[in-house]
């Protein structure tokens, strides 16, 4: 990073790059934000039947991951679901 960069605002080039990365994730997965929201709600519904989960810390998204079979990346559903109370599962 150059000396002049200290005084510069974030360039619009990096904004473009960040926006593209986001839009391409849903483009590649063929999945709109609305459908993601529905998937998220359904997952919450299913898991909540058995375990009490932390809805605040919940994170579900489609990301790119390295393919195991061929070179390149493939879309993957990533879900990070913190558990609040595991005891309720052992009724």
């Amino acid at each position: 990073m150059g000396f002049a960069d200290f005084f510069k605002k974030k360039g619009t080039g990096s904004i473009a790059k960040d926006r593209l990365k986001l839009v391409l994730v849903s483009d590649r997965a063929g999945c709109s934000p609305e459908i993601m929201e529905q998937i998220k709600n359904d997952i919450i519904g299913v898991i909540s039947k058995y375990i009490e989960i932390d809805l605040e810390g919940l994170d579900i998204k489609i990301t790119q991951t390295e393919s195991e079979t061929h070179n390149g990346t493939v879309p993957a559903l990533f879900a990070n679901i913190p558990i609040k109370d595991l005891k309720s599962s052992k009724k």
Partner: protein, 263 residues
């Protein structure tokens, strides 16, 4: 046995036709036998970019429909005797040709030519399917803008789905002054996003407009874009050519370089 290369982009106006004309002419300058095919039926343009618009008698649809033989429709270039153009039809539409027919045509031309370049229309419909049908490899042209890169990503996905053997990226119209101040994505940024190997970076160069006005591709000239296109042609033939150092040039050097070029 020749190789069929499709030049495609998804988005219109990013430089497919200019790239086809310049890379094709570059390959002819390297003494390869080359034919350029304009597959944009109804919106033909490669003929004017090549400066051959006054020599058209027959076109792609005539060949496909059997109205004439291939050799009767091929137009010899003004400057290079080993370079030919097969122009598109202006008064027909994309459904006049099918992917199977294009594949058959490509197979026939492969017997006689080293390289067959297909100038693909914008979009992902019939015209695109026709252009990629017989292709062995694809050159995806994009500019460093969100709309062009997004469309390029879609095209790359479709090429993969159609089992294209090789796909390479050309970043066109890069403005180094804007990249340096952070207001344009660099070729590395675009490459990282699209995850495809880069085969060329073409700087934004007003000489392209000047050469297109005259109907003479500028490949091989001393201009930045002319050298960039020649490098792409060489890379296609398998030569290993380092990328032009556009990124790291400091402004003082650039000034000196700019002055020297004018003299």
């Amino acid at each position: 046995m020749g190789e069929v290369i499709v030049v495609t982009s998804g988005k219109g106006g990013v430089g497919k036709t200019t790239t086809t004309a310049n890379v094709g002419t570059g390959l002819a300058m390297l003494e390869k036998k080359v034919v350029l095919i304009d597959t944009d039926i109804g919106l033909r343009n490669l003929d004017v970019v090549m400066g051959l618009e006054n020599r058209i008698v027959y076109n792609l649809v005539d060949v496909i429909e059997g109205t004439c033989r291939i050799r009767n429709a091929l137009i010899k270039d003004k400057r290079y005797p080993n370079l030919y153009l097969l122009p598109s039809a202006q008064t027909r539409d994309k459904n006049a040709v099918s992917p199977e027919q294009m594949k058959k045509l490509a197979e026939e031309l492969k017997e006689e030519f080293d390289y067959i370049l297909m100038d693909c229309p914008a979009g992902i419909e019939q015209g695109f399917k026709n252009a990629i049908a017989g292709a062995d490899r694809a050159l995806v042209v994009t500019t460093p803008e969100v709309s062009a890169v997004r469309d390029a990503d879609r095209i790359i996905g479709l090429l993969e789905a159609n089992e294209m053997k090789q796909t390479h990226l050309i970043v066109n119209r890069l403005r180094m002054d804007m990249v340096k101040r952070g207001d344009m994505m660099s070729s590395d940024d675009v490459c990282e996003i699209l995850a495809v190997d880069l085969i060329g970076i073409v700087p934004d160069d007003e000489n392209i407009v000047i050469s297109t006005n005259q109907g003479e591709p500028l490949v091989g000239s001393d201009s930045l874009a002319g050298r960039a296109y020649m490098n792409i042609a060489r890379r296609i033939t398998g030569e290993e050519i380092p990328f032009m150092d556009l990124n790291e040039r400091n402004s003082l050097f650039e000034k000196l370089f700019g002055k020297r070029k004018k003299n």
